[in-house]
Amino acid sequence: MKPAAFDYHAPATLAEALQIIGDAEDARVLAGGQSLVPMLAIRLAQPQALVDLNGIADLAYIRRDNGQVAIGAMTRQRQVEQNPLIRQTVPVLTAAVEQVGHVTIRNRGTVGGSVAHADPAAELPTVMAGLRATLVLTGPSGRREVPAGEFFQSYFTTSLRPGEILTELRLPVSPPRTGWAFEELARRHGDFAVAAVMATTTLDADGRIAAARLAIAGAGPTPIAATDAEAALVGRDPSAAVIADGAAAVAAAAQPVDDIHGTADYRRQVVAVLARRALTAAVTRAKEQR
């Protein structure tokens, strides 16, 4: 239960970090360490070099930028949780991050680390997929922006190329009259979700659904944006029957498999229940903003 030996690098700038990653044979980037260090300890990961980003102060920030909220990849999850700008502009992220691990985990764990780790049962990747976040990847030839839907490729697999680092996460500001919810089922508080559903609903002046954002965790190789369910809700009056239809459409988008935590059928049923709860809570919150 001790990590294998590695060369340790603590660059002070992003440029330096990119240089080291480019030169190393087999480097892993160390962010908050709440997933990577356990993998080192059980030797699932045995990189030759570890490039620690914790000394790069420029990578931790939360700010409004061109109508979006930009979050530096090394921003701690606990900072996001307590940040008033996030609570005001992307409240579903606040709701989701509160369910990541425990406070002690969130004190160290970073937003970028969780998203780059790409566990399909994790909360933050699900919010990125659901809100159609833009992820900024920086490599030796500069930065590129990738939609979250293209970033997550499969279990723990992303479109990050060798030599690239996830440096920023850009989220749309929640429009007026938008409610939100992040509903999760986990066996114990702080565990990864058996399944979770993120929902936001925006109501128009007549109280009909103008837009919805829905995403599923824990029911497929990546977090899944339930785009068909979103489209089916637009223009509808958010009655219990419409929400039930929406929840069924979310469950239809799930791609669960059997594993030790439950069967695929069980997971699909859980997704349906969580989707109904999430949509109901999101609509209620949207109405409160009337």
Binding site: F6, G33, L40, A41, V103, I105, R108
Partner: protein, 170 residues
């Protein structure tokens, strides 16, 4: 090998170790502070929780080299002069431990928690304790201890004079 200098409970500690040494192992082996316990060594049990610059972390998930220049507080830094701290006293009085293996981590978690939230509800206490596993108590007495600790800290009640000092039981 890297040289590591940090402050533990107000004292400067220097050691030389491989970069792969965790902060937990550094505290235990290089500093001789074995109050920080290692249960799972992969970030599940919470026994190794310490404060780094005032913030709780799992010291098995932080490399010692990452804590260079930091101020670390371990369970040995609670209390002082042979006296238990208010939180420790509350755990003693409420039977908030049995074998005690998880207790150092729980005390550090609770130290951070009560500094942030001096008057928590039982739900808040249970939620915050969820990152620390205890296999003896069933948690009820721990919750009682935290509630009592919060009340003591609010009242700034000093430990009772007739309570034996820790050293007598060492």
């Amino acid at each position: 090998m890297v040289e590591i200098t940090l402050s533990v409970n107000g004292q400067t500690q220097t050691g030389v170790c491989e970069p792969r040494r965790t902060l937990a192992d550094f505290l235990r082996r290089s500093c001789g502070l074995t109050g920080t316990h290692l249960g799972c060594e992969h970030g599940v049990c919470g026994a190794c929780t310490v404060l780094v610059d005032g913030v709780s972390v799992r010291s098995c998930l932080m490399l010692a080299v990452q804590a260079r220049g930091s101020e670390v507080t371990t369970v040995e830094g609670l209390g002082g002069g042979g006296e238990l701290s208010a939180i420790q006293t509350a755990f003693w009085d409420n039977h908030g431990l049995q074998c005690g293996f998880c207790t150092p981590g729980i005390l550090m978690t609770v130290s951070e928690f009560l500094a942030e939230n001096p008057d928590p509800t039982d739900d808040e206490i249970r939620s915050r304790l969820s990152g620390n596993l205890c296999r003896c108590t069933g948690y009820h007495f721990i919750v009682d201890a935290v509630r009592d600790a919060a009340a003591r800290l609010r009242a700034a009640e000093p430990p009772a004079a007739d309570r034996p000092a820790v050293a007598e039981y060492a």
